[in-house]
Amino acid sequence: MENITRKPNGEFIVHTAKGDITCEMVVNATGYRVNEVGRMLGVEHPVTSMEHMYFLTDTIAELEAMDKRVPIIRDPGDDFYSRQEKNGLLVGVYEQGCKTFGMHGIDPHFTQALCPSDLDRCLDNMERIFERMPCLTETGIHTVVNGPITYTIDGMPLIGPVPGVPNAFCAIGLRAGIGEGGGHGKILAELMVHGESEWDAWCLDPRRFTQYANTEHTCLKAIEDYQNEFHYHQPHEHRPAARLARTTPLYPVLDAKDAAWGVVNGWERALFFKPDADFVDEHGYRFTPTKNIVAQEIANIQQNVGLMEVSGFNRYEIKGEGATAFLDRMVCGNLPKKSARWACVICLMKKAMCWQKPPLLSWVRSITGMARPPQQNGMTVTG
């Protein structure tokens, strides 16, 4: 497939060496070539690739002698996995000194192909892997497989509509597509045919990232994700790569007050204020010492008054002829009857699943006495 163009009626023409194909809908599911095909549609997806290696050993006599298969191993400390392959082992490594793939373009002839093996990158892991599985020191390696795997900013693939291109869909950024592909296929089919999925698939939705999600940002997160592939993601853990993607003018001010920062869709947000600059917010599944600091923040709010910044909340101005009727149709409850009031409202899916109900989807209707144009006769929706 060499190019995609559009007919005036919006249909796609997929151009191939063997002729053109007209399509009402297209799906970009081209693996590590995602951005070559994305460019044909005029988009750049937040997907980059990392090289990943596993090796296959020669036959191991002990395995051959066994009447059962050995279990699969996933080692979060030494960053490797292993499973039996015939009478040898398949061992894959997530090395810290990892390598990106295709950042400067991909050779058009690289199809059904592999990257040159480079086990030296994994020496540090190898020592520890040998310690865990001494049999490997006595076994030859007969094949090394090094191929590109696609990564996204949050480690989850992008399954669904391509933002900004009607009738174009994607199933890209799959890190474990062999294991997960079936579920992704079901969700994608539902989205294409019905416009919505039976499951809440927002965590896979290509629209969950916005402008900050450029290729460089994606790449920095991909490297970090690769290095942490087998490490447990702790509750409230916000990893350090590619931070400060979106900040408000108060970032340096709050930082100087020892804010502990978290990140929500690229936006830096204060989680709590540290008692001193060196305080570390321990991550864990149990209560941590941070609980007492939060207790103090709350006690002061309860007795006196507290101040918090909330960055990056969705906010839309909806205005023009018919704005009220439009919004009224979108929500299943009542809009405020009086002017200068807000209300919580819920938008439903066609199939009546909770579609979007931000903690506060508030709105303003013709605020009386408003002087500035943006709010005049308009309403602001925030959430």
Binding site: R246, A270, F272, F287, E297, V305, M308, M330, R341, P358
Partner: protein, 248 residues
Amino acid sequence: MIAYKPDTVSLTEMTASHTILVVAGPKSRELLQSLSPRCDWSKEAMPWMSVQEKTLGHAKMIAMSVSFSGELAYELHIPNEQLYLTWKQITEAGESFGLGLFGLYATESMRLEKGYRHWKADLIYERNPLESCLDRFVNLEKPDFVGKGALLEEQARGPQKLFVSLEVDCDFAPAHSGDSIYSGDALIGSVTSGGYGHRVEKNLAYAFIDPEFAAVGTELSIDLLGEMHPVKVIEPAQYDPENALVRG
């Protein structure tokens, strides 16, 4: 949304151009009033659930009397070019009101005590508003709204799960989203949010569970970090259920 939007209506994104400052606590009104000689922040002039344009010092903004904490509180929606100005004025004036800073962790704890939901944690596509116990935000008398037909069908079918608040009997860990809820040996639901409620001094969680177990007072258990702990269905608003504080 776009699919239903008439051409005469414009939709403008203002996410990155404005920022919210939340001022919360019993002294919030006094603090804001002290900076606003020509605006009236009184309960009569700006009751709970109002939206008004206000001036603080010489900064202008949209103020909403809204509370996610359960205390008397205001959200100030400020254009970014006046964010620092507003911040500086509030923090300087705040010194005599005992103003302190707070963040997302405190907010999370306080909203759990009020029965307030978090989008994509507790509010998900998979559950309709009736199952989510948000009936008060649904008006089936309205002639039409997107999803009404399907919602009526689901109403006739009855809820598959119901949203509940739980008190967790465990002193070392909060519940985590995804933790399983059991009645005896039967798996009946899973947690959507969990955390400690400092003002009510309870370990709290939200969950979707089978409807027959959703009555307040029902005793169930949770699989928390591999061990079973007792949980009890409780009233959603544990803190100031009458909303007296938010009304000020």
